[in-house]
Amino acid sequence: MAVTGILLALFLIAHMLGNLKVFTGETSFDHYAHWLRDIGKPLLPGVWFLWILRTVLVVAVVAHIVAATVLARRARAARPVKYAHRKKINGSYAARTMRWGGVIILLFVIYHLLDLTTGTLNPVGNESKPYGNVVADFAPERWYVTLFYTLAIVAVGFHLRHGAFSAFRSLGQQTPRGERRARTAALVFAVLLCAGYLVVPFAVLTGLVS
């Protein structure tokens, strides 16, 4: 869980930094998007690097889901008879919603790929003009898309808040002081990432990016 989660979190950071290039203007953003397809070009032909990256990500996602499923099944088997009276759990909301939160994030990722990678669900869907796709996607009259993106990003934030701390712990974080630091770092990371992702749709919604 920890290793695949860290791989995916690293991707999230890179993806967020790429998104923020939307503020540098249409030409720059489209240039960046086209460069993504050409990384490693002299060495690797065409979009090879992109496909290698995609393969690593898919493997990480699948391994993450498999590990989560194993844990969920073990948890279910470990308590066949439920409590008649179960208090609201002491732990954080983030920790409690890891499993269903993960399912929601998976559904969002599928929608997101159909929207801005293949362009199937995008109102423009022009592969050569990613800037136009983004602007069309979060246009004010499509407020429900922005709303859905916001909810999904917040779900990712909660998932990361517990996930990042949990990854530190799984990889051997062992002191009480380190635990406080790990929890704070996870919270800051989750908040920053959420803000970095949400600023783009809201910039389009408010007309800052058009």
């Binding site: 194993v70 844990l71 073990r74 948890a75 088997a77 470990a78 308590r79 066949p80 008879v81 439920k82 409590y83 008649a84 009276h85 179960r86 208090k87 759990i89 002491n90 732990g91 954080s92 920790a95 409690r96 890891m98 517990h162 701390f165 949990s166 712990r169 799984s170 990889l171 051997g172 974080q173 062992q174 002191t175 009480p176 380190g178 635990e179």
Partner: protein, 254 residues
């Protein structure tokens, strides 16, 4: 105090079991929770009914025998307290109290509120000890131990093996118990020779016993009557990673 108890009654391991309601009147707020159950049982016996079976021994919070899920809280609402040390003043007059056994497939119910916690013994048997006969306690200064390590080991050694961590865990995991029993040894010089075979053995025994996996949900520490900290599990994780990286382990002859 007048209370209404809803208690899990189960005649034996094969019985399906159900919650049964018992009114208990004239409970003193100074009674312990188990004394209150004793009062109920005396009345049940006088009425010719089967008394409620529950585990208990020392009644001073150090043996780890008593363990009840009280209103969904392992050992009741008071933190750092076993059920035997919990007093009825923690409850209000007229309250309905739900009492259930620990719920875990590794802890099958024997009768009513009594569960078989032999799975915890299996984890200990898989390495929760040192094999060298060490005789009586040595002179304290003969083996220097860093103060921080001594304190952390002592904190872990306070575990009484009651099973509240398993009962409270949303995954039914016994990792806090396993980590406490493991790190009380791995922090001290006497525990070093078998440190890495121990962690593999105990974690394997934990998983084989049918406990769930830890997801760092953090439910166990607030439920623990001895307040074993959550970061104890991090110590186990670190030892486990080192042990798996090292391969077969470092015990001579193993």
């Amino acid at each position: 105090m007048n209370l209404t108890l809803r208690i899990w009654r189960q005649k034996g391991p094969e019985d399906k079991g159900r919650m049964v309601t018992y009114p208990v009147d004239d409970v003193s707020p100074d009674m312990s929770f188990l004394e209150m159950l004793d009062v109920l049982n005396e009345r049940l016996i006088l009425a010719g009914e089967d008394p409620v079976a529950f585990d208990h021994d020392c009644r001073e919070g150090i043996c780890g025998m008593c363990g009840l899920m009280i209103n969904g809280d392992a050992h009741g609402p008071q933190r750092g307290t076993t059920a035997c040390q919990l007093h009825m003043r923690q409850f209000t007059d007229g309250e309905t109290i739900d009492i259930e056994p620990w719920r875990a497939s590794a802890f099958p119910v024997i009768k009513d509120l009594v569960v078989n916690r032999g799975a915890l013994d299996k984890i200990i048997a898989a390495g929760g000890y040192i094999t060298a006969p060490t005789g009586s306690a040595p002179e304290a200064h003969s083996t220097p131990v860093a103060k921080a390590n001594a304190d952390a080991a002592f904190e872990s050694a306070a575990c009484i093996g009651c099973g509240a961590c398993v009962a409270a865990c949303p995954n039914g995991s016994g990792m806090l118990f396993t980590a406490a029993k493991l790190t009380q040894l791995s922090l001290l010089p006497q525990g070093q020779p078998e440190r890495y075979t121990r962690v593999i053995g105990m974690v394997d025994a934990h998983d084989e016993a049918g406990f769930g996996g830890c997801t760092n949900a953090g439910e166990c520490t607030p439920a623990c009557p001895k307040g074993i900290p959550l970061n104890t599990i991090g110590r186990l994780n670190r030892d486990y990673l080192q042990a798996t990286a090292k391969g077969a382990g470092n015990t001579p002859g193993s």
